[in-house]
């Protein structure tokens, strides 16, 4: 009787420890799973395109073939004469959160800071939940080594399924570093 109880308790412990249907997965801004619109084109960043940058490699001294050093990110600025730039991911899961910095992260020892705003959209078969989910924030200019990515917007608690979720830049500038989505494995 006692052995059976121990066996049952052990089975319960093992079951609780191993079972986890949802796991957060990080994909950074250089992942090819990220889709950008307009496409990445640094020369057009002021007119709404995305720019791929690193915090320790300067565009002012750019030479083709330079490795990216430091924090990698993609940034875009809102231009009221054009459609808002956006970045989006396809995934199977229950939610996603975008991370980065409000404003322009910049390069060198000081981050530029600034304000920005985002709006998240959700595409999925049968989805009737919220759309144009808005977030905004401001970063104070500071030394780079004290800066940490913050949440730029999230959609969570969805019914497990296939989603395309994107973040639009709707004001100011946003520097996007990575997304974390809640992958569902059944």
């Amino acid at each position: 009787m006692l052995n059976a109880m121990w066996a049952f308790a052990l089975a319960l412990l093992l079951a609780v420890h191993l079972q986890a249907a949802t796991i957060p997965i990080t994909l950074d801004s250089f992942s090819l799973n990220a889709f950008y619109s307009p496409g990445v084109n640094g020369s057009l960043v002021r007119t709404g395109a995305w720019n791929a940058s690193f915090t320790e490699t300067s565009w002012s001294t750019y030479v083709r073939g330079t490795p990216g050093v430091g924090q990698g990110y993609h940034y875009a600025s809102y231009n009221e004469t054009r459609d808002p730039p956006y970045v989006m991911y396809d995934f199977y899961g229950t939610g996603i959160e975008f991370f980065g910095y409000w404003g322009h992260l910049g390069e060198g020892k000081t981050m530029g800071g600034g304000a920005g705003a985002s709006s998240l959209f959700v595409q999925a078969a049968g989805y009737s939940g919220a759309q144009n989910i808005r977030f905004k924030g401001r970063t104070t200019a500071r030394t780079m080594n004290t800066a940490q990515p913050v949440s730029l917007g999230q959609v969570k608690g969805l019914t497990a399924g296939f989603y395309t979720i994107g973040l639009r830049v709707t004001d100011g500038t946003i520097s996007f570093t990575h997304a974390v989505f809640d992958a569902d494995f059944g």
Binding site: L32, V40, P67, F185
Partner: protein
Amino acid sequence: MEVARQNPVFRSPVKDNELGELVRNDDFGNWTGSGWTVVPESRVLGTNIQNDSVLIDLGTGNYWMNLKGSVGTYGSVFRYALSPSPAMLYDNADTRRTYTPWEVSNVSLLATTLNPDVRYTLSLETLNNNGWDYGVQELNDAANWFDISSIELWNKDTG
């Protein structure tokens, strides 16, 4: 399903032979084409020849896959095809461009959840040229590099 991510399996397209030399790993996949080249300093296998390809048997039991390689100014366009089509991937076959202004290694090129009950094959083929017209033919010809650093698999029977 029990999920055990703590012991992901990494497969490398290169390996050390009995002489300690870094060579192509023929257990990684079925390689086709003359351009596949070992890059020792970054431990990747890459090619700049159009239509070079590799067919990879992912096996069964996997619920997550992450293919990694380099992106950069010499990056090309490549075509991928996962068969059979996973329910959790929007496009089981498509093209992607590995161009970005900076040279970045070990970037996620294709990541997707999989059905562990299904045995998948992944085919990759370089289509050459990143599609960007530099205005100089020499630069256009150089923009056709595609390489692989690893495939990461999460298997339900590992851990």
